[in-house]
Subunit: 216 residues, 2 copies
Amino acid sequence: MTRPAQLLDRRARRRRETIEEILEVAVEVMTEDGVAALSLAEVARRMGLRPPSLYQYFPSKAAIYNALFAQGARRVAAAAVEAEAAELDGADPLARLRTFQDGFCRWCIENPVLTQLLFWRTVPGFEPSPESFAPAVAHLEELRSRLRAAVAAGQLAPQAASEEAVALFTCLVSGVVAQQFANEPDASYEQGRFTRLVPTVFDMFIARYAPKEHTS
Amino acid sequence: MTRPAQLLDRRARRRRETIEEILEVAVEVMTEDGVAALSLAEVARRMGLRPPSLYQYFPSKAAIYNALFAQGARRVAAAAVEAEAAELDGADPLARLRTFQDGFCRWCIENPVLTQLLFWRTVPGFEPSPESFAPAVAHLEELRSRLRAAVAAGQLAPQAASEEAVALFTCLVSGVVAQQFANEPDASYEQGRFTRLVPTVFDMFIARYAPKEHTS
DNA sequence: GTCTATACGTAGATAGAC
DNA sequence: GTCTATCTACGTATAGAC
């Protein structure tokens, strides 16, 4: 009665692949038609399936949005950490924070659909589940810890680790990304008129929280 | 054959009122169901009409979105100018710019639906017509002229009137508004954790473009 | 696991009577 | 100017055969 483990693995893997493909195609559809215009029928069509078949993998349309939210939250957090680690392992906290933030912004620009789902909340009835939301909270905590590290290193004033400073930091990033999407949605991260301001807003942040000079 | 002018006026006025009511109810529906979920049938229902009747006033759903875009663009520009004029007539350019900007932000927070339509572009197929877009362009020009005035008065460095500075200014505002909507959509302008940062980001802007000190 | 068939609901838009 | 009636289209979701 029990099947070979290998076969079960194959089936499980195939199922996972199908789930991944559904999410990928869903992003394609949203890219073309708008985040709020996701249609399961269209996803099925592009996969060569009938709409009912999708319900073997997701119980509802909302579940697909939710899975995409969770996936996006994990990916954007990972992108920031990877950017930071890539070229600056061992660098000072402020330089690390800068690349962390740059990685975050770059991911957002390169993933407009997921960014909109994550940070704009424009889909009529959709609310992410607490589990899907968790990675987003974790990312914010990573940002906080990096601000604290810069303070501890004497590169920023103590207030830079306050909740107000965290909020301000997110506003600066959010603003650049929002303006880039609204005004030049197709520009690359490097060429965007607004994304080019990422280093600028970072400089403004560190200028505001410059540590007091001790002319010892 | 010709009717009394008074009667024609009455009809014309009534028609205008109906058009206004359609737009008002549309905003109500979008507030409750999401900007992208506007339904003409729902609007008609709330007005005590049948859906086909709306087509006497607007030729399509897109036309309603377009009218709302134009209305929003006019109103937000007016809100900024009125805020500026209200308490600071005759004040220095930088103080005027600050209240101008504050009026803009306040209007955005108090009109989330129109703000989303104007600045986020999240409605699947919708593009505003050039005529609807014109007031938005005009507002940006008003911002530019105020930056130039502050430069001319020696309150900001010349670069504060550059296109980069204008872009930066819009990013700062956009970021605060975006974060407020995403995280505390129901907070008032005064109480919002993010809108409270409007003066802060303004200060950061003027700090960046502080004129060179001449110790004459 | 995928299908056919279908229930069920909604939408935008038009034709033509009143 | 508003209505009834209708067209056309699309969507989500479920039941049950294969």
